[in-house]
Symmetry: C2
Subunit: 160 residues, 2 copies
DNA sequence: TCGAATGATACCATTAATATATCATAAGGG
DNA sequence: CCCTTATGATATATTAATGGTATCATTCGA
């Protein structure tokens, strides 16, 4: 019952960073180290975002990614859509074979109402709004830079 | 991205039926046939509900299940909790190892807000309210009884 | 030309979802 | 009394989704 998946979450972090550092071309290696995200996984994520015109990429030495779209036009709902398709709380369960009276089914109506409200909020949340809601990078600098870029992913406490 | 899982959905159907037929002791076989739900799966579901004091069971010939709790006190959120634990849209993703600034993280706040609203609706939805929202069994009898109780589950069009 | 970077994509491991199967026990009916 | 129909408990199987890794090709700057 997870609303935001890991890939979406990782994407958000990387995008927020890029929004706060718009001039910089950020490489997967540096971003992965900074946020402790597995390199190859993050790489696939950013490549996907580039294919969707959200990022632009440059190859070769000194290459990496930067924003192509304005942060205020990158909706959380878009990102979820990129990685998992459009939000659909009723996928499968209410498919016609199982639930023949789709139109009237009150359970479906309830779920659809919840979904609609969730979608409104997800569309109102953008990279820009997330960055704005966050303390500025310079003000809260406690551990970020001194984290030894070691990606402690292995102990990956699931269900923690 | 499914809010209601199959087991919860199956449980809702069985419970709604029992709410509409309070005197009847319903066997897994009859319910499974009526709603085209796999027998053994439904059985495990109802056994779980019995363990949670939502149903009472009787064994042997003529046995089966009936409601123990009043339909208006069986919340949709409860059922989800029985099968999948309490609703938690932020499970795992925001665990501390990955998201160190849990308190301030604006993404987390957004998700928590969505979750809170969803929970309000899920708690407002009961077996009683679902039954009330549904046309009475006798009035809408179009296909229900003539469905040949054959459980067309195999073609199970996933992602449909 | 070397090395650091992405593009594309195939592969792998774990977990969750969705069942199915089985052994034991209980209870009613002939 | 035993057969059939039930549930109680639980182990096993199957499939898809999730999270992550590896690799080959290409690009580009020093």
């Amino acid at each position: 019952m997870n609303l935001i998946m890991r890939d979406t979450d990782y994407a958000v972090r990387a995008l927020c960073y890029m929004a706060r550092n718009p001039e910089q071309v950020a490489s997967v290696t540096s971003l992965g180290a900074r946020f402790a995200i597995p390199r190859q996984y993050l790489r696939r994520i950013l490549q996907t975002l580039a294919r969707h015109q959200i990022l632009e990429s440059s190859r070769g030495q000194g290459g990496g990614f930067k924003l192509r779209k304005d942060p205020s036009r990158i909706l959380l709902s878009d990102l979820m859509g990129v990685f998992h398709g459009a939000l659909d709380f009723t996928r499968c369960v209410f498919r016609s074979a199982v639930c023949p009276n789709q139109a009237s089914c009150p359970l479906r109506k309830t779920v659809k109402r919840i979904e609609k409200n969730a979608l409104l909020e997800l569309r109102a949340t953008t990279i820009a709004s997330l960055v704005a809601g966050q303390p500025d990078d310079k003000t809260r600098r406690k551990t970020p830079e001194k984290r030894p870029a070691k990606a402690r992913k292995e102990h990956s406490a699931r269900r923690g």
